[in-house]
């Protein structure tokens, strides 16, 4: 009987909760421009909310733009992101910003596979940030253990990166979270209401606060400000880098990216890939040469697979905030460049008319 009750609770509670905790980004009056909605930065690790956002976005937008903080807009406001400028160019609200901070390709694979199941029969612009293959460490192909973003999204047992060494309990917990929506909902409760802590640690930090009052049944509205100061990479004092880059055929991140494309296509989505942008001025000559070779290999694979793509042209140096993030002018330029492509315009128009 206990088991029957528990199974019932496990199944119905997250669904019941969705009714209690309102999530309607486009009608949110607090958001600066509702169609430019992006997930609140503080909820970057809340995959349950990503799931809700992806379902919502699928029902409202014809095209989803998926990627990391480059898509999310680390150095820009909500009205200065790539999806915003794409919508501006399109003349209507077509593109949804599905960027999540720190989503490298291996994490993107987990995000799309487990939490993005709603994304089917859509058009998806998939962003590939070359920064994630700039070194073995970023590529997660090194053997030395280190902490990276979104470990709960990478493979836990088969094809697990060597640098990721969680306990069995943690891995089983992650698999449970992915497989049973109750656990991702529970994780959402901790992330959204308890500052990403479990209740024990939260009450140690906030000894006199009432935990029940912390559950406000409200999802925070994304703050309409850049998460990092919007200055150029030169003003930031960044120096030239000699990224070693990883061989494309050996790259864990690129391999994961290919799997994301496969999954999206298997779900009958049309996929358009944006390779880059990447700041060429920050690279030494040798590093830039290696980067270009690597990029050509990726492009060959995309062409071979018949996937539409665009590698944005180099932007002016002052349009880059760091190695991979553009400033607002950069986003506007990339959107402009994409709309200069007839194939892209057709792709968008077709979808816009098909999906509206």
């Amino acid at each position: 009987m206990v088991i029957a009750i528990l199974i019932g609770i496990l199944y119905f509670l997250p669904r019941f909760w969705q009714g209690l905790e309102r999530f309607d980004p486009l009608t949110n009056e607090l958001a600066a421009r509702s169609t430019d909605y992006r997930l609140p930065y503080s909820l970057s690790n809340d995959y349950w909310i990503f799931k809700r956002w992806s379902k919502y976005a699928c029902s409202k937008y014809p095209v989803l733009v998926i990627g990391d903080s480059v898509v999310w807009g680390q150095y820009v406001t909500m009205e200065q992101t790539l999806s915003h400028y794409l919508n501006e160019r399109a003349g209507e609200d077509v593109f949804a910003n599905m960027g999540v901070d720190g989503i490298h390709q291996a994490a993107m694979l987990g995000l799309v596979k487990y939490y993005g199941k709603a994304i089917s029969n859509k058009r998806v612009i998939l962003h590939f940030n070359p920064l994630w293959i700039s070194s073995k460490k970023h590529d997660l192909s090194g053997e030395e253990e280190f902490r990276f973003n979104h470990p709960r999204l990478v493979p836990q047992f088969i094809r697990k990166p060597d640098c990721y060494r969680p306990s069995l309990a943690q891995r089983v917990g992650v698999v449970a979270e992915r497989s049973i929506s109750f656990f991702s909902w529970a994780s959402h409760i901790r992330t959204n209401y308890f500052e990403n802590m479990d209740l024990r640690n939260w009450t140690i930090q906030n000894p006199y606060k009432n935990p029940l009052r912390a559950i406000t049944l409200e999802i925070p509205v994304p703050e309409n400000r850049p998460e990092s100061k919007p200055v150029t990479w030169a003003e930031r004092g960044m120096e030239k880098q000699d990224f070693p880059w990883v061989q494309v055929e050996d790259s864990f991140q690129w391999d994961s990216f290919k799997k994301v494309v496969e999954i999206l296509r298997a779900r009958k989505n049309g996929v358009f890939v944006i390779l880059g942008p990447f700041n060429p001025y920050i690279l030494t000559a040798e590093s830039l040469q290696r980067y270009n070779i690597m990029k050509s290999e990726m492009e060959r694979w995309l062409e071979g697979e018949g996937i539409s793509y665009r590698s944005p042209s180099d932007l002016p140096s002052e349009y880059y905030a760091d190695a991979s993030h553009p400033l607002k002018e950069g986003y506007a330029r990339i959107a402009e460049e994409l709309f200069e492509m007839e194939s892209f315009r057709k792709w968008v128009r077709k979808e816009a008319t098909t999906w509206k």
């Binding site: 009750i5 917990g173 209740l199 024990r200």
Partner: protein, 473 residues
């Protein structure tokens, strides 16, 4: 392998699914023994040598005791009472068991103290400390094996003919690491039968396990966050913080140890075995004697039967009674760990027992002092004694006591939720011992509470696996 780990979950699913069909055959003790040895060897395979050796010595000591009896009876008559041969093998097995325990558990403590003495008298000698290997659970299974040997000597149990069954009795995995310390008279007969597993066994066992899990993960580990911080640097904490940390520790150790026992009893129940009750609302005790009849019952009754009574118990006048009580409590303290803090903790409880025993003999205390006041006094005393149990060193313990009374009161930042949990459970225990016990035993209520506990664990806690406090003993 801790009960609240995925390793154990996987282990148990495998063991249980084989055990269920096997339990109706005579082979099930082999399977249980293999599982128990795997469970124990998971910590360190070397431990298996120690437990196997301890098991073999006690098993064969009893065989030799039995064999020595007829020859002895032929040689002598009543002059030697129970017989030298039998006593010889008993002594040998006890010396062996205590020697093992002494070597692994007290070796460092003894050599450290001897070296201090040697340096005080200026002797140019340092005794090297024995190895630092400390087999978890050694205090528990050694005492359990000893109880079998002593009970056989006393004629309270029959010799167990099967080595496999006896080895299973010593090592049965649910209770191997931290008890309860079972008696042969209770567990061995159960192992001789083919266990019956009813639906009730499974539901009760699961409920007990969930309650234990909740006590450990949601309560004990939670309180530990506050306690550990305050006790790590007592010099930096004010009086109120240390007082609340000590209050929290009183509940932490109760939740931790009774949680372990609940899980152990729950697992055993699912397998068709009944292990003894080890905790019975100890913080409702009205005297220190009562406290020890409610706290770690399997250990306190062990000391009662195998130390206090053989020393003479309360049969030879007040002085000898208190002497025996003092020895028993100090040894009980030492059983918990090789440190002077444990000795003082035991001695404090001995003094507490003298006081409450004397008070209980007065008419005024018995009739006029309200029960609640007695209970609160016992709780306050037990909590004070926990300072010596928990402190990292004797100097820390003294510092904590001093600061509690002199360091003033600052904002303690003690979580209200933790206080709420402790007080709620205290009130629940009061109600459980009152007339409304029947209501609390109402099945739908129990099911509801179990579900809530499980939900709380799943929603509000994350996987952190703090070891049980009593595993270090």
């Amino acid at each position: 392998m801790l009960f609240h780990s995925w390793h154990f979950a996987i282990f148990f699913v495998i063991v249980y699914s084989v055990y269920l069909p096997l339990r109706k055959t005579r082979f099930y003790p082999y399977w249980l023994l293999a599982a128990s040895y795997f469970f124990y060897g998971w910590w360190n395979p070397l431990y298996l040598l120690i437990i196997a050796y301890s098991t073999a010595v006690n098993f064969y000591a009893v065989i030799l005791m039995q064999r020595s009896q007829p020859s002895f009876l032929k040689k002598s008559s009543q002059a030697f009472g129970k017989g030298l041969g039998k006593r010889f093998w008993l002594t040998l097995s006890i010396v062996n068991s205590l020697g093992l325990l002494g070597f692994f558990k007290y070796g460092v403590f003894v050599t450290d103290n001897l070296n201090v003495l040697l340096s005080l008298v200026g002797a140019p000698l340092t005794i090297p400390a024995p190895g630092t290997l400390f087999p978890v659970g050694i205090s528990f299974y050694t005492f359990q094996a000893m109880s079998y040997t002593i009970d056989f000597y006393r004629g309270n149990v029959e010799r167990e003919p099967s080595f496999i069954r006896f080895a299973t009795f010593v090592s049965l995995f649910p209770r191997l690491l931290a008890g309860p310390i079972e008696r042969a008279a209770n567990l061995l007969p159960q192992l001789r039968e083919k266990p019956e597993i009813s639906t009730e066994n499974i539901t009760d066992g699961l409920s007990l396990f969930v309650v234990g899990l909740f006590k450990k993960v949601a309560l004990a580990d939670y309180l530990a966050l506050y306690v550990d911080k305050a006790y790590a640097a007592p010099g930096l904490s004010d009086g109120l913080t240390l007082m609340l940390a000590t209050f929290a520790f009183a509940w932490q150790i109760y939740f931790d140890f009774s949680g372990y026992t609940d899980m152990a009893r729950g697992i055993a129940r699912m397998m068709g075995f009944n292990l003894m009750l080890n905790f019975n609302n100890p913080y409702l005790a009205t005297g220190l004697g009562d406290f020890w009849r409610r706290w770690h019952i399997s250990l306190s009754s062990w000391f009662m039967d195998y130390l206090y009574i053989p020393l003479g118990g309360n049969r030879k006048g007040k002085f000898n009674t208190y002497r025996n009580m003092f020895i028993t409590m100090v040894v009980s303290g030492l059983w918990h760990g090789a440190a002077w803090t444990f000795v003082i903790w035991g001695a404090l409880h001995a003094v507490g027992r003298f006081l409450t025993r004397e008070l209980e003999r007065t008419k005024f205390y018995e009739e006029r002092v309200p029960k609640l006041l007695k209970q609160l006094s016992v709780f306050a005393f037990a909590t004070f004694a926990w300072i010596f149990f928990r402190a990292e060193s004797l100097s820390d313990a003294v510092l904590i006591v001093k600061r509690i009374f002199t360091a003033g009161l600052a904002n303690p930042n003690f979580p209200i939720l933790a206080l709420f949990f402790c007080l709620s459970i205290w009130i629940y225990q009061f109600l459980f011992e009152s007339r409304i016990r029947e209501i609390l035993n109402w099945t739908p209520l129990k099911i509801g509470v179990t579900c809530l506990m499980l939900l709380y664990l799943m929603i509000f806690t994350t996987s952190g696996h703090e070891a049980f406090i009593y595993l270090q003993f």
